[in-house]
Amino acid sequence: MTNIFTDFLSSLSLINLGLAFSGVVAGIIIGALPGLSATMAVAILVPFTFALEPSSGLIVLGAIYTGAIFGGSWSAILINTPGTPSAVATTFDGYPMAKKGDGDLAMSISCISSFIGGIVGVICLALFAPPLASISLKFGPTEYFWLAILGLTLISTLAEGDNIKSLIGACLGLLMSMIGVAVIGGDMRMTWNISFLNSGIEIVSAMIGLFCIPVILDLTSMKGKHLSENETPKSLRLKESFLIVFNKKFEALRGAFIGTFIGILPGAGGSIASIVSYGEAKRSSKNKDNFGKGEPEGLIASETANNATVGGGFIPTLCLGIPGTPPDAVILGALLVQGIRTGDTLFTQQSSIVYTFIFGLFLATIMMLPLGLLMGRYAYKSIIKVPREILIPIIIFLTIIGSYSIQNNILNVYFMFFFGLIGWILNRAGFKASPIVLGLVLGQIAEQGFVQAYIIGNAQENIFANYFARPISIVLVILILLGLFLPTLKKIYNRRKNA
């Protein structure tokens, strides 16, 4: 106990506080720029941490990661483009809120929700890391496959618009994810002898194009202001935001726990977590008809979940040496360089470093609240004041620089442009971008799980049982079926009841 208290004091040193502060600010800015993901933010700054004490280096990386995941919500709310893939669900209600003139409220709610999610994730990491890590080992290939399909069916049934078209969009996303070398088998697929397709489609550049370009093209033709301004532009709307989140405290906590749990599962990450949390919020809400039209509850669900994956993701990273999310993989690399060996002995033999890091993460999440509220307010005020004539070239500029900087490769910019035009055409035909993007993001997890389960089932001479008879799989399949058919069954039931 005394040791933990000493670790806590050590995390409060001036240098650690300064590092956490600058890490959060840098993370928020990088996360808010479309194309610059949390992984990239962490990866860029890893070399700088080698000169620091191991715990200080880890604190700055954790702070950047926390800030970047939250920062991704800014562009999702203000320009309908998720800064990171985990903010896809934030666009559903965040952007409609901004369009209605409640952008500042959305920014504040997103910050408070991210804070709650982050804190719950870190508390779970500090208190229950070893037992929770063992849960992730119960997830085999079949469970990962069904989890990815659950994410896709949920987004298809939850996103605004036509469900069939959303499911088709998810299939298109999955097909796009297959371009290039197959994850199992190594076949070259759907490249049609075009060499630059061999490495597959870069997810973030496709995401920027699919989300951003339709917005740009619609803004070009739009008359009037791009975002409405509320009547009290000088207010922070803090009280209102806190009150909304307080009234939805159970929903916020549920989102945080969903995020932590999904964060524990290696590879699943914030994108599935926020979609599952959003789905659960919509299913159980009294205002389900308002979801997708600017309902704060949807925003709370998405933002609590994606920030909770930060703490959740560190659980398998620290306890098992298996990164929960891509940024965790980079941080795991930094840990190894610093001479820290992950595993179940980490919490006993090198507890000082681990607990200083956890406290540092805790402090970074606390710092994110005032910083996010303050910076978010100015970001929103600046965006609504920027005239559309200059906003359009700025967004185009950000899409180009963002997609170029992913791999310093011009081909990613062409991909972004090409996918953007396709996205705009599909959007006008009623196919939304979010299921396509999620299909692209989850494609590899789904395929790997599907093929591995097929191979295992084949070896056991019972493919069906391997897909459908495992306990966790049964639960996931039931959830998928409910997600797909419950809305239709409810409609039929209501129609019969009224007749």
């Binding site: 069939i164 070239p393 180009i400």
Partner: protein
């Protein structure tokens, strides 16, 4: 038959998607068993969903609400956007961005906005580009293209 279609967009989309599924299904048949199992599953799902979309298009129309577009503005924007990307590595990041950015301001401003205001937008935009260029290059260490003419 065409007259009985209530939702032509869905019908056309469904037909195009079925053709795409057939092509991809055929492509998958040339792959190894492990490489083809997932494409087979997804193209089959896509075909089933497309057939449902086609059948539904005869029964009901699901309206898609879209903004009215200005085709001239959009065409110009797409051309400049593409040119911006095309010349990025050839003419360098700063030069290409400054030209394309200011051209886009001119297109979006139209004739209603006073010239003085447009000039202010252009100066502000150019400063923004330079600021971000140096930020990306020096802080984030992203080697943005210098262009053939400016290469040292």
């Amino acid at each position: 038959m065409l007259k009985s279609i209530k939702d032509k967009t869905s019908f056309i989309s469904g037909v195009c998607l079925i053709i795409l599924s057939i092509l991809l299904f055929y492509e998958a048949s040339t792959l190894s068993p492990f490489g083809s199992v997932f494409p087979f599953a997804i193209t089959t799902a896509l075909t089933i969903l497309s057939v449902i979309l086609i059948f539904r298009s005869f029964k009901l129309e699901i309206k898609v609400i879209n903004e009215n577009v200005s085709s001239i503005k959009i065409s110009l924007l797409v051309v400049i956007f593409f040119a911006w990307i095309y010349f990025l590595e050839r003419s360098g990041f700063i030069l290409t961005s400054l030209i394309a950015f200011n051209l886009l301001i001119l297109i979006n401003s139209g004739i209603k906005i006073p010239l003085k205001k447009i000039a202010i937008y252009m100066v502000m935009g150019s400063l923004f580009i330079l600021l971000l260029y140096f930020g990306f290059k020096n802080l984030l260490l992203v080697p943005l293209p210098e262009g053939l003419w400016f290469r040292s």
